[in-house]
Symmetry: C2
Subunit: 379 residues, 2 copies
């Protein structure tokens, strides 16, 4: 059902780790695997959720950086568009044919603003602002390119990272945007990043209840000033049910739901609602020191949110990673040289960014190979 | 003096973050900067060291993954060749013209062995083995390609990762390699990875004294069996002075010396002998929440060995990274929107692997832009 869109003239093992039709055991490791059945089920679960709740999904593409997955999310997964986090990520997505993108971030550098504005000639581009001093530069870039940029006011609803203070400062910024030539005020960005990974459901709910009060108050103040928040965006895989139930947010920005990772599994538990669809395939390359060592290290797996989990091999666990090696604990001594294991990354977003290709498998067979379209696009 | 070798038809800001001749403030961030003066001084310091000590340098290219830097190390930095850690890394280096490569690792998968053997048609290729059962596959791959593969016996000299037991098991493996068609026994790989980052000089010296005894005994046993260890390889930036002084090792495999990083600075102190030559250039993009936020997050900086250090801005420090943001502590409130900062990565190797380009600067001017030749080549 999923077609290979982009592979040509590739040499397996150098340019790509696999080709469609290969058996799983022929894939060169380490490789980034997608279980396509699991991905499609995650896609469908989220589609059903947003349809039933009557909210939009603007799937966050910083998780996967793949135009193929973005297209699936928009064509079959109920997404109205995608989020990107960087201008170059949006550029890669527009080049690959995606035409409705929120850069869910502040952009301040004038050269980046020019790039962003030029992009708006080819796609709907929305961007965030959290500072009245940003408005003139945004306006100037839009006018320079002869486009209209849609702008969300990002508020700090609890994460303490970016975002203007909710309430009056946010309302005044909305008014400034609405008054600026070349800009269209499009709503509020209210994403509580820190809440996503809080350890318990009660803590996450509590954080979003507090964010909801701040967001609602801001939306109402903006409405009282005569402006409409067409978009009230936010939410991630850790909290989206709360935002969807609030009646305040109307656009969810979940990203990790499509893959899940070991950290979200730890936080959300077995009933997270989504399956692991992303794995790093790795091979045992040494047993000489009495411990199994595989070929996936720090350049193959991001460890900022903890070590990877070992998939479907009871008793085997990851003890540590070095640059190019993974050391496993295998108390029963069952692992053999060249044996393949699937590791569940601790954190999917920075792990995907380490690879050039996704190897999409169905059962034990490679069905497709997709480029990681925006891999390394961080500027 | 350093030439730009590889740039063509690039569009600044999308394909590359900078072009030669640009001022530093025009570079699109985040970008991976090399201070070329510092790099050249590090290069020269190590060249002088190995020349004075009468040992060879086989610089580890897993640190930088750059054919341009590998060439500098071989042409001006006293290196006899390079180390790679993966077959695909070696493939990328051979494609770029490097012709003397040790894959300082075990290779067990038959398809990878075939790729490695084919590479030996175009370059001197040396590889490691730590298991008698590996010999037949290595031999078969070499004969299949009609080449001779040079093989080092990797011993576990204290790191407890890969490597056969020193002494008799290592000697017997050396004899098996020497007897196998298509293979040439070339010596010993004795790298103590764990020792590099031990907290004190005394601990590092102690670890290498112990590794030295095991390595010396193994070399002597192999000599008694009638074989010569042409290469006794090992050492990293944390311990190389000890290996060089031992009289046992004859080929040092330092990698990080060329760049230094915050972790090695913590471990080795101010007198490490090498300067910071690698930086991540990042821009302030938000001050709205009262804390400065820049545009370099977990996809721009590896954090496995700690957070980055802030270069040349007293009092400003990194408090944390999320996927796309760096949060700074700036108690004096000196940072401004779009201000550029240089961050010293916690760990250089996995940080370089996140980028497509090095931006080589001299003073405030971009002199060259080099591709990260083997970026993402991990299979």
């Amino acid at each position: 059902m999923i077609q290979d869109l982009s592979l040509r003239d590739a040499e397996p093992g150098f340019d790509v780790p696999a080709l469609p039709g290969m058996a799983l055991h022929e894939v060169q490791t380490p490789a980034l695997l997608i279980d396509l059945d699991a991905l499609e089920r995650n896609l469908e679960r989220m589609r059903r959720f947003v349809t039933e709740r009557g909210v939009r999904l603007r799937a966050h593409a910083k998780t996967h950086k793949s135009a193929d997955i973005a297209r699936l999310q928009m064509e079959r997964g109920g997404a109205c568009g995608i989020c990107c986090q960087k201008v170059s990520e949006a550029e890669a997505m527009v080049r690959a044919g995606i035409t409705d993108i929120l850069v869910a971030n502040e952009v301040r550098d004038p050269a980046k603003l020019d790039r962003l504005a030029r992009l708006a000639k080819r796609a709907r581009i929305i961007v965030c602002a959290d500072d009245p001093e940003a408005v003139a530069d945004l306006s100037s870039a839009a006018r320079g390119a002869g486009v209209t940029l849609e702008v969300l006011v990002e508020i700090d609803c609890g994460a303490g990272r970016c975002g203007i203070a909710p309430g009056l400062p946010a309302r005044d910024l909305a008014l400034a945007i609405a008054a600026a030539p070349g800009l269209r005020f499009a709503g509020i960005q209210a994403y509580h990043g820190r809440a996503q990974h809080l350890a318990t459901e009660a803590e996450r709910r509590c954080a979003i209840v507090s964010a909801e009060a701040l967001t609602r108050q801001t939306v109402e103040m903006i409405a009282a000033a005569g402006l409409t928040c067409e978009i009230v965006g936010g939410a991630g895989t850790g909290t989206y049910r709360h935002e969807a139930a609030s009646g305040v947010w109307n656009e969810l920005q979940c990203g990790s739901y499509i893959f899940m990772d070991a950290d979200y599994r730890r936080v959300l538990g077995p009933d997270a609602g989504f399956e692991h669809a992303l794995f790093v395939l790795t091979s045992v390359m040494s047993l000489a020191s009495g411990r199994a060592v595989t070929d996936a290290g720090l350049k193959a797996l991001a460890v900022d949110s903890g070590l990877p989990a070992v998939h479907s091999l009871d008793g085997v666990s990851c003890k540590g990673l070095s640059d190019e090696h993974c050391q496993l604990d295998d108390p029963l001594g069952r692992l053999r040289i060249s044996q393949r294991l699937q590791l569940i990354p601790g954190h999917c977003d920075p792990t995907c960014n380490l690879y050039d290709w996704y190897v999409g498998i169905r059962g034990d067979r490679v069905e497709t190979v997709w480029p990681v379209t925006a891999r390394g696009k961080l500027y």
